[in-house]
Every structure is written in C-alpha cells, then in structure tokens.
Symmetry: C2
Amino acid sequence: MSRRRLLLGGGATLAGGSLAGAAATLALSEPGPDTASVVTAEAKGAQVVPFYGNHQAGIATGAQAHARFLALDLKPGADRSHVQRLLRLLTDDAAKLTAGRAPLAGNDPEIPALPSRLTVTFGFGPGLFDAIGRGDHCPDVIRNLPAFATDRLEDRWSGGDVLLQVCSDDAVPLSYALRRLVRDSRDLASVRWCQTGFNPARDSEPAGTTPRNLMGQRDGTANPASDTEDFGATVWSDEPGWLRGGSMLVFRRIRMDVDTWDDLGRPAKEMATARKLSDGSPVTGGAEKDDPDTAAVDGQGFPVVAAEAHVVRATARTPTERMLRRGFSYDDGPDPDGKPDCGLLFAAYQKDAVASFVPVQKRLAESDAMNTWTTHVGSAAFAVPPGCTEGEYIGEALVG
Amino acid sequence: MSRRRLLLGGGATLAGGSLAGAAATLALSEPGPDTASVVTAEAKGAQVVPFYGNHQAGIATGAQAHARFLALDLKPGADRSHVQRLLRLLTDDAAKLTAGRAPLAGNDPEIPALPSRLTVTFGFGPGLFDAIGRGDHCPDVIRNLPAFATDRLEDRWSGGDVLLQVCSDDAVPLSYALRRLVRDSRDLASVRWCQTGFNPARDSEPAGTTPRNLMGQRDGTANPASDTEDFGATVWSDEPGWLRGGSMLVFRRIRMDVDTWDDLGRPAKEMATARKLSDGSPVTGGAEKDDPDTAAVDGQGFPVVAAEAHVVRATARTPTERMLRRGFSYDDGPDPDGKPDCGLLFAAYQKDAVASFVPVQKRLAESDAMNTWTTHVGSAAFAVPPGCTEGEYIGEALVG
C-alpha cells in the first residue's frame, strides 16, 4: 500500500456526510499519473495539494481542469508595509483554502471543504517591486518583456502588479477561493483583469494524458515530467537571491481563429504543426514524445516536415530554451454575430525567460505556420517567488 | 452484469488510443446515481446521453458539471422555411455532437470524441412562433410571463427566439459543440445572449448528491427523482397537441450578493432557508429530503421556522406547483473594484409554468427571506418541444 493510497483512505469519511475538514486529512505530495486510479469516486473532491513547501504549488502540480488568472494593481500610494499586509493576508487565505478550510472570517466550511486540488500561485509584476522600493530586484525581462512582430496586445488583457493563478479540478471551490482572495485584496489593490480557462475534465481521459486545446491539438507534449531532474533544471531559479527556488511566468492570451481552422483539411492542419491530431505523434512517425524527423522526404523528394511547422520552430534548440507550458483554453462566448472569442491562456514557467520564452517567441514571431490562426492579444510577465513554510508569507525574502 | 456495465465496457478501447468513434459505442440510457461507480476512470469522457427519444435529453439527465445557455434571435424576415432549415441543421449537429461525432462539415473527430454526457436541449420563444405564422400556438405564459415585484431585469440577459441549453461534464467538448451550433445558426440567427454556468465537478461528491450553489446551500433538494412517476407528472406536458411530451423552461439569472452573505452568521443563514448548510436537512431535524416542521417551537415558545423562510415560501403547496430545478452557478468574475458578479442560472422545467413557476415566484416576490441577498436580473421563458426520432428534427410537429 503506497503512502498516497494510505493518505487518501481518509476520503471514505465523506460518504458519511461529514464534509467539513475531511479534506484536511488528505494530502497528495504531488499528484502523479496514477492518482486517479487510487482515489475513490467519493474522495475526488477532497484531494489536497499541499500549500507549503520549497516551491509554490500550482507549477509542478499536474494542470487542473479549471483556472482563473487574476491580475491585481496596487492602489496608488501603496508602500512596503501595505504590500506586506496584502501578501500576509493572501498567503493565509491561500493556505487555508487549498487545505479545504474557510479563510479568515469565513464561516462557511462547506463551500471550500472539497478543494479538488485547489492551488493558489503568486507572481510579482514590476509595480510590486517599485512599491516596496526594490525596483532593482525585478528581473529585467519581467519589466521589459520584448515586443514581438506578431503581437496585437490589448491593455485589458495585459500587465499587472500581482498575479494570482488559482486552479482546481472543480469550478465551485475555485469560484469561492477567488472571491475571498479578491475581497481580502480590495482595500489595497484593484482588479486589472481576470481570465478564466479550462482543460479537459478530471478523468475524461486517463490521468497523465496531455490535454487537448480548442484546435484539437495535444498541447504541452514537450513538457518535462514533474518528477525528473529536467523539471527542476527547466523551471526553478537557482540564482542566489530572493528568487531562488522560484520561477518566471510568461502569460499570453492567444486568440484562435477557429472559424478558418475548423474548415481547414486534416493534412493542412497536421502540416502546420508537424504532429498528427489523432495522438500528437510526429507526422513522420513515432510516439507523442518523439520529435519529428526534419530530414524525412516523401516519394518525390520533398521534405515531409515544413521548415515553418510549429513544432520545428517552437522546439527548444538548447536545454536553456525549455519551458513548462501549463496552459488552459478559454472561451468567452460568441459575439452578437456569432463570432467565437476563444483560444489559449498560455502560461509558461521557466527559470529565466531571457533564455527560454524570449528566443523561442522571437523565432515563432519570425515564422510559424500557426501564426495564420493564432494572435497574441494579451501579455504579462511575473517573477514567481519560491514557496514558504507555515508562519511565513509568499515573497517574504523579497518584501521583508 | 447490468446492461449499463455491459454498454460501458466499450470504453476500454479508449486506453488503446483509438478515440474517434469509441464514444459512439457507449450509451447511458439515463445516467443514474450508480453511473459513476461502474464507469472506469478511462471511460468517463466517453459517456453518451442518447439524443433521440420521446423527450429531449438534458432535462431528466442528471445535471452535468457545465452548461451554456444560448439565446438566439431569428434574423428579420425569417419565415417558416428558414426556421425549418435552422432546426433541421441544429438537430443534426446536436445528434452527432452528443454521440461524440463531428458535425456536418467538421473534420476534427478528436475534439467531440469525448462528450462527457453532452446534451443539447432546444426551447422556443415567442418570436419563433410568430416567424412560422403560428403565434397562437405559443403558450400564453411563454409570451407573457408576469412581472414580479422584485424583478430587476436587464435586456442583455433576457428573452430570445430560440434557446439552446448545452451541457457536459467537460468544458472542452461543450465549448466545441457551442461554437459549431452557433456557426451553423449564423446565417439565420444572431446571438442574443450566452450565459455560462457550472456545478460541482463530476465525482467531487458521490453521484446523486444534490449540488451546492455559491451560497453553500444544497440546491434542488425538492426535485422529483428522474425514474419516478412524479417526475413525468411534474415535467412533461400531457396536453394534446404539438407540446405533448415536451415541457416549459423558465430561465432566470439570479444575482447573489455574496459579500453580505459571506459575512452573515450561520444561524441567520440557516434561518433564511430553514435548512442546515451542512447537509441541507431542515433546521427542525430530519434528512435532506424532509420538509421543515413549521409548527415546531423553541424553549420560549417561538416558532423555529420563520414564516418568510425560503423553503416555507418556495415549497409546492399543490402537486401542480412542483418543478424540476436544473440550475447552474455562474461567476463572471470581479469588476475593477473587486465586486463579484456571481449567482445562479435558475432553470426550471415544468409541464405548465402557469401552474408552477408563476404562483411560486409570486409568493417569493411577496415575501422570501432570501430576497435580501438575491436579485433576478434576467428572465426568459421557452416552450420545450418533445424529443424526436432519427430523420425528424426537434419541433417538427409544430413547424411542419
């Protein structure tokens, strides 16, 4: 009997009707591909991802089914003591909510009792560094993410002083967590934007399956597995200083022109990425995790993989170019003419965006077959502090 | 081995990677409380609710985790032949999509392959009856739903000539289905509104558990069970004519003031409904499905259940007042000041709204403790045609 199975046995009490607090008896050290099979149907909602640790939760955590990305702006005049107060309060809220408990002053244990792997992940934008008088501690790439030729950015989806990435497999505890976090930030910050995303539902496919996006593609195939050395080397900052054990998040709202995409023939769709839609494997053969064979030629001697195929352009050319892509689809519904507004909330974690997102996106902006159907309409970059222990707050090493 | 288990055995092929079409080999005659326990984790996405039948799917179907309610307005000048064409096309789309197949002209079998109990339910507003020259066939209550004293209705959430209620346990196939249905309606109709809702995720709680709303209350306790005679007597029209086997849907967008609600003490919250938040049972004791004892008095002789408690006012006083409440929470995110915009997409099915929704809502508008925290901001009523067989289209008995 694995430790995981043992911990999850506590979920059986749920069936008896005592929901409040039951979730707190459960803990998934890090949900892996075999999680689903050992959790009883009754206990699914009680799954908890630990909040405290060396790294923040919600990064190595397998992507949940639902996400809300919330960007806050500090109110004019906010200083270091205000930021301290805000982060202390939000850290406390996040620790309680993700454990399945009501936040401070909350008296509704039932709503948060089934967090369904709720995570709250904090990111810091340039405005936070300036407010605390430590503008020089903000990584330059976070303050000055380069513009790219294909950008069509809108202010309403861009920027922010503080990011909260709130994820859960269940939209109900997610909604409750977000409203409590927002409420506890209202005195000190205003809402800059809030973007809602989703992945396939828990257990729609076998656990560990790469999720499909709204174009039908498996999205995130090249991600390092969370239990590998590769993962740490890709995601966690190892520079001395306050960011050590943290990461950098580049967030992009990428609109998809699904009208024209849906009409495109299968061969053209697969040419655009060099991967098959059926299972994400390269058009030149192999399995999902294999790279396409760019040297392959067809019967007439023409290359099978186009030079501008997305995978050819996007694949890391050096180990430092790698990222963890932890994206979610969005669909804000049709406009009065029936035109869809949907796409991808691209969220990439990496130790240093200068070495990974920037060169890769520069290459894609120069040439990428997918640019015909995708447009970047929002952009924000955040320094992601390391995790904390009980009694500390997220970002304490920076804010002090 | 039950028929259901047998049918679901087909889901095992999913693990082998052949997704397309696999879903079509599965059929849940009517998902019941024991569904979750017999479906393997791998097959959850492949669950199919049959589209064809005497009644439309998505009514007796246990409420899914996600819903989009889409109201269309016919374009000016639309006549009977246009409406025929629209309904024929949308019926064909709905039949294919809910079976896990791509719609007409769709060449992406992967996206719809895992419908997760996708249903598409059609409703007709007054404008459809007028367009086909049969205005007199529109039930008066659908055309002239009375105004209620507490209404604060906004046009942007109200009305509509055609309703599509699209539900699934998975937001991905739901998004795809909606965009294809909208696209195939664009020539003939415009989008009046689209409202997105959710319930607790599949398997967060044991199957058959009454879902919690964003106030933490179990919502839908009084619903008749789908396999009872009561259900048919409550929901399906038995009047001679085109609506026989159909129903009426009253849809209300009910905004919740969760800020003040969250701060309220537990006793006050439970007094407002006369039910406990923990398990939905009456404050006077008993189980969730029991009615509160309105005659109970406390030690000082005061009534335990207030006369204006929601359950006292909302409970059906005659069998004809009963409804099937099949609602979803909504959360459109905070405004810049951090004020939440969330509540309930109330969707009630009944054989005749004159006898059920209208008198009940009149009573609630007169007095209901919950009116302090809830406001009706949208309203629409639709006649819901019966189901159809293969080769027919929804509404054919009316539209001809």
